[in-house]
C-alpha cells in the first residue's frame, strides 16, 4: 500500500523527495541500521532486543523526548533554542497531578491544566522573543529557572502522588498492545510533519530561520511565526510532562532535568543545523531513535549508567562530525 502511493506520486516528483531524504541522511540512517543489527545479533542482547515487548518499550521510553524534539526541531530551524522545556515538564506534571490528588478534579481537567501550563510558558517565551531582540537562549534560560522554581515552590520539593488508578492510563496504559504514549507520539509526529512540510506556516518557519530580514521583505509576519513555534514547543513540553507524571504515579519537581539537552541532541544528531533555516523532522525521528536504542542497548548489556553518558556524548559528536565532513565536501 505504502509502496503504491510512492509510485503513483512519482510522476509529481515525490519519489525524488524520499530518495533525496535517504541520500542526505545516509550517515544517520546507516548508524541506526548498524546499531539495530548489532543489537539483534550480539549474543548478550540478541535474545531480548528484537522482541515486540522491548521494541514497544524503547518507543515508550523515547516518546517524551520525541515530543520535545518535535518542538525543538521547529525552534532550532527558526535559528533559536528552547531551554525551558525540561522545566515545563516538571511544572506541568506537578500541577496536573495536584489537580487530581489535591483538588480532586477530574482527570480530563488535569490534562487540560498540564497542556495549558506548557502553552502559557511557551506563549510567554514567544511573546518576549518576537517583540524584543533578546536572544532566545537568554529568554528560555530565564523561564527554565522560573518554571523549575515554581514546580519546587508548589510541591515543597517532594513529589505529588496520585493514587487514582485511571491516572496511569496516559503514561503507562495500552490500547490493544500499543502503549498510549506511543500512540500520542505518532499522532504528534504526523501533526508536526504536516505543519512543517505541508503548510504555509512550515515554509515560513524555514524562511524566517534562513534569513529573517528577507522574510520581512517577503511580507512574512516574522513575529507571528516565532510566537507560534515557541507556543508549540511549550505545548509539546506540557504534554510530555503529563505523560511522565502519569507513568511515575506522581508529579515530581525534579522531573525532566536535562530533558532539553536530550531533545537538542536528537535534533542535532538528526542533521538539523544550529544555524537555522534547514532541517527535517524525519532526521529528528531517526536522531531520537538512535539515542533511544543506544540507551536501551547499553541497558541490555548491563553497561554502567555513568558510561552510558560517555557513549551518548561520543555518538552525538560522531553524528555531527559526519555532517561536517559531508558539508565541507559538498562545498568544495
Amino acid at each position: 500500500m505504502a509502496k503504491e502511493t510512492v509510485k503513483k506520486a512519482g510522476a509529481a516528483g515525490n519519489t525524488n523527495k524520499a530518495v533525496v531524504f535517504i541520500k542526505e541522511n545516509m550517515g544517520i540512517i546507516a548508524a541506526f541500521l548498524v546499531l539495530s543489527v548489532f543489537l539483534s545479533v550480539f549474543p548478550a542482547t540478541s535474545g531480548s532486543f528484537l522482541t515486540a515487548k522491548n521494541i514497544f518499550n524503547v518507543l515508550r521510553q523515547i516518546s517524551t523526548n520525541m515530543l520535545l524534539a518535535c518542538g525543538m526541531t521547529m525552534v532550532i530551524i527558526l535559528g533559536g533554542i528552547d531551554l525551558s522545556v525540561g522545566s515545563i515538564i516538571a511544572l506541568s506534571g506537578v500541577l496536573a497531578a495536584g489537580c487530581v490528588s489535591r483538588y480532586g478534579l477530574p482527570i480530563i481537567a488535569a490534562l487540560i491544566v498540564g497542556v495549558l501550563v506548557g502553552l502559557v510558558i511557551g506563549v510567554f517565551n514567544g511573546f518576549v522573543i518576537s517583540t524584543t531582540t533578546i536572544p532566545p537562549f537568554i529568554v528560555t534560560l530565564a523561564t527554565m529557572n522560573i518554571a523549575r522554581g515554581l514546580a519546587k515552590v508548589y510541591t515543597g520539593g517532594s513529589p505529588v502522588r496520585v493514587v487514582t488508578k485511571e491516572w496511569q492510563f496516559i503514561g503507562a496504559g495500552y490500547v490493544g498492545f500499543v502503549p498510549v504514549p506511543v500512540i500520542i507520539m505518532i499522532i504528534v509526529l504526523i501533526i508536526t510533519a504536516l505543519i512543517m512540510n505541508k503548510t504555509k506556516m512550515g515554509r515560513h518557519i524555514y524562511a524566517v530561520g534562513g534569513n529573517p530580514q528577507a522574510a520581512v521583505f517577503s511580507g512574512i509576519k516574522v513575529s507571528r511565526v516565532k510566537f507560534f513555534v515557541h507556543a508549540f514547543s511549550g505545548v509539546m513540553a506540557g504534554m510530555a510532562g503529563i505523560i511522565l507524571a502519569s507513568r511515575m504515579y506522581s508529579g515530581q519537581p525534579t522531573a525532566g532535568e536535562g530533558a532539553e539537552m536530550d531533545a537538542i541532541a536528537a535534533v542535532v544528531v538528526g542533521g538539523t543545523s544550529m544555524a537555522g533555516g534547514s532541517g527535517k523532522i524525519g532526521g529528528t525521528i531517526i536522531g531520537a531513535l538512535i539515542i533511544g536504542i543506544l540507551n536501551n542497548g547499553l541497558n541490555l548489556m548491563n553497561v554502567n549508567s555513568f558510561w552510558q553518558d560517555v557513549v551518548k556524548g561520543v555518538v552525538i559528536l560522531l553524528a555531527v562530525f559526519i555532517d561536517y565532513v559531508k558539508n565541507s565536501k559538498s562545498k568544495a
Binding site: A9, A11, A12, G13, N14, N16, V20, L194, I195, N197, K198, T199, K200, R203, Y206, A207, G210, N211, Q213, A214, V216, F217, S218, G219, I220, K221, S273, A275, G277, S278, A332
Partner: protein
C-alpha cells in the same frame, strides 16, 4: 614584478583554472576582467595563499616563490582587499590595522603607541579617519581605506582589490582612485577586479581577460574598446548590450507625495506611468532605497501619500504592498533576499504559497510548474530546481530573486540595484527581460548607482540627493554630467 605562469587548479568536477598566466608591473594598475565563474577569484586565492595551485609557477622580482599559505603571501608583499571587508567591527581602526601584530611589550599592548602609529599612517594618505574610531561607526568606503592602510603597513608591494567600488558612491570612488594613483606612484602594483567597464578606462593601464577558467588575452586599456573587451569576456559579440524599445507610456499607476521617514527621506515625491522604466539615480546615502522601503511598508512611522492607479492607499506592511500590486527586489541580495540554504524552488515560490498550499495539502506539481515557468522565462542556469540557491552564481541568484517577485504578478516592480554583482552576460539578459516586462504593461522603478545603466534603460530619471528628489530628466536629456549635477545638489 609579479609573474604567474601556467597556473592550473582543479576542484572536484570543475577545472577552475586552466593554464592561466598573469603579470603585474611595478606602478601599474592591471585589471582582471571576466564574468562570474571565469576564475578571477580562484586566481586571486592562489596568489593570496588560500588555495595552492595544482601546477604552475609564481615569480616575484624574477625569483621563483612558493606560496603555501596566507603568511607566505604576506611575506612576499602581497595583500588582498576582499570584496567583503574582513575588519573586526567592535575594535578601533588602530587595533584593526595592527591585528595579529599588536605593538607593545611582552603580553601588554601599548594602545597609545599603536593609535599614534596608525594615525600617522592614515594622515600620510590624507585619510580623514580617526585611529581610535570604532570600525562599525565608519562608512563602507572608510573601512576600505582602513584596509588599504593596513595593507600598506605590511609594506605590501602587490595589492589586490576585489570589486572595491561595488558599494561606495562616486565621490568615494574618486577618492579611492586618487589613493590608488598615490600608491602606484610609489611603485606599488595593483591587481584590480571590477565589473564596471567605465572604471577600467579611468584607472587601469592594462587588462587581462579570463573566461571559463582560461586566459583569453591581455590588452593595453588605451588601445582597446569597451565592445572588444566585452566580446572577449563573453566569447561572443553582444550586439545589444542594452535592450530598450521606448513606447508611449500609459496612465499613471503610482504616485507618491511627501514621503518621509524622519531620517533619510525628506518629502520625496514622484509618479510612475504604466509601461515605463523609471530610473532613480543619486549618491549612496541619498535615500533612494529608503524611499522605496517607505512605500513598501517596511519603515515604521513613515509618512506621505501613496496613490495606486489614482486611489489613495494605506500601506503599512509588505503584505499590503503586495496586495496593491507592488513588488520590491531588494538591494542586498544576501541580506534581504536569499534563503541561502534552501532550494531554487523554495526561493522562487515563497511569496505565492497560497497558490499551491491549501490547509495541509501541497500541490507539488503546480509548484514545480510555476518554478519552471520562471526558470525558462529568465533563462536561469541551475542544474535542478532542488539546487541550493547559495551554490548559484550571483547573476542566477538575482534572476531567481526577480522571479520570486514576478510570480506575484505585480503592476509595479521596484528593482533596487538589479545588476549589482551580476556578470555582463546575465546583466544584458536582465535588461532584455525588463524591456519585455514594460512592453507587456508593467511599470518598473530601477534604483541604480551605475549611470550608464540608468541612462540607457530609463524613460525618465529621478535624481535624489540627501533625501529629496532634486530633479527629473527625460532619457534624451540625461547625461552623466546632468545627473551628477542634480545628485550633488
Amino acid at each position: 614584478m609579479l609573474k604567474m605562469k601556467h597556473i592550473h587548479k582543479r576542484f572536484p568536477g570543475v577545472y577552475a583554472l586552466n593554464d592561466v598566466s598573469y603579470e603585474l608591473r611595478a606602478g601599474e594598475v592591471h585589471a582582471l576582467l571576466g564574468e562570474n565563474g571565469a576564475g578571477k577569484s580562484t586566481l586571486i586565492k592562489v596568489l593570496g595563499g588560500i588555495y595552492s595551485a595544482d601546477e604552475g609557477e609564481i615569480y616575484i622580482d624574477g625569483k621563483k616563490v612558493e606560496i603555501n599559505g596566507v603568511k607566505d603571501a604576506q611575506n612576499n608583499g602581497i595583500a588582498i582587499i576582499h570584496q567583503e571587508l574582513v575588519l573586526v567591527p567592535h575594535m578601533t581602526v588602530a587595533e584593526n590595522i595592527f591585528l595579529g601584530r599588536e605593538q607593545g611589550q611582552g603580553i601588554l599592548i601599548d594602545h597609545r603607541k599603536m593609535t599614534e602609529e596608525a594615525q600617522r599612517l592614515l594622515d600620510a594618505h590624507e585619510m580623514n579617519i580617526k585611529a581610535d574610531a570604532l570600525i562599525k561607526d565608519l562608512t563602507i568606503a572608510q573601512q576600505q581605506m582602513v584596509e588599504i592602510v593596513k595593507a600598506i603597513s605590511y609594506n605590501s608591494r602587490i595589492l589586490v582589490m576585489d570589486e572595491p567600488t561595488s558599494s561606495i558612491s562616486d565621490k568615494e570612488v574618486a577618492f579611492l582612485f586618487k589613493t590608488m594613483r598615490g600608491l602606484t606612484a610609489k611603485g606599488v602594483g595593483i591587481v584590480y577586479i571590477s565589473h564596471k567597464m567605465s572604471e577600467l578606462e579611468e584607472i587601469c593601464d592594462r587588462v587581462t581577460i579570463m573566461r571559463d577558467g582560461q586566459y583569453v588575452g591581455t590588452e593595453v586599456v588605451k588601445e582597446t574598446t569597451k565592445d572588444d573587451l566585452i566580446a572577449m569576456m563573453v566569447g561572443r559579440e553582444l550586439t545589444n548590450y542594452y535592450t530598450r524599445d521606448y513606447l508611449e507610456p500609459g496612465e499613471i499607476v503610482l504616485k507618491c507625495e511627501n514621503i518621509s521617514d524622519g531620517k533619510m527621506v525628506k518629502n520625496a515625491g514622484f509618479e510612475i506611468h504604466k509601461g515605463e522604466i523609471v530610473g532613480f539615480a543619486g549618491l549612496v546615502g541619498a535615500g533612494r532605497s529608503e524611499t522605496m522601503k517607505c512605500i513598501f511598508g517596511l519603515t515604521k512611522g513613515s509618512q506621505g501619500d501613496v496613490y495606486v492607479k489614482r486611489n489613495k492607499v494605506n500601506i503599512s506592511n509588505p503584505v499590503d504592498a503586495i496586495k496593491h500590486g507592488l513588488a520590491l527586489v531588494p538591494e542586498d541580495r544576501k541580506l534581504e533576499g536569499l534563503y541561502k540554504v534552501q532550494s531554487v524552488r523554495f526561493n522562487s515560490t515563497i511569496e505565492i504559497l497560497e497558490r499551491f498550499i491549501r490547509g495541509v495539502s501541497v500541490d507539488d506539481r503546480k509548484e514545480i510548474e510555476i518554478t519552471q515557468k520562471y526558470i525558462d522565462m529568465m533563462a536561469t542556469k541551475t542544474p535542478t530546481q532542488e539546487q541550493m540557491i547559495g551554490n548559484l552564481s550571483g547573476g542566477n541568484q538575482q534572476k531567481v530573486m526577480i522571479s520570486r517577485w514576478l510570480a506575484t504578478n505585480p503592476d509595479i516592480l521596484i528593482l533596487d540595484e538589479p545588476t549589482r554583482g551580476v556578470d555582463v552576460g546575465a546583466k544584458s539578459e536582465i535588461y532584455a527581460i525588463m524591456n519585455q516586462l514594460v512592453k507587456e504593461g508593467m511599470a518598473i522603478i530601477m534604483i541604480s548607482s551605475e549611470l550608464p545603466e540608468i541612462i540607457n534603460m530609463s524613460d525618465r530619471i529621478y535624481v535624489m540627493s540627501e533625501g529629496r528628489v532634486t530633479g527629473c530628466l527625460d532619457h534624451d536629456e540625461a547625461t552623466q554630467e546632468s545627473i551628477m549635477q542634480l545628485a550633488a545638489n
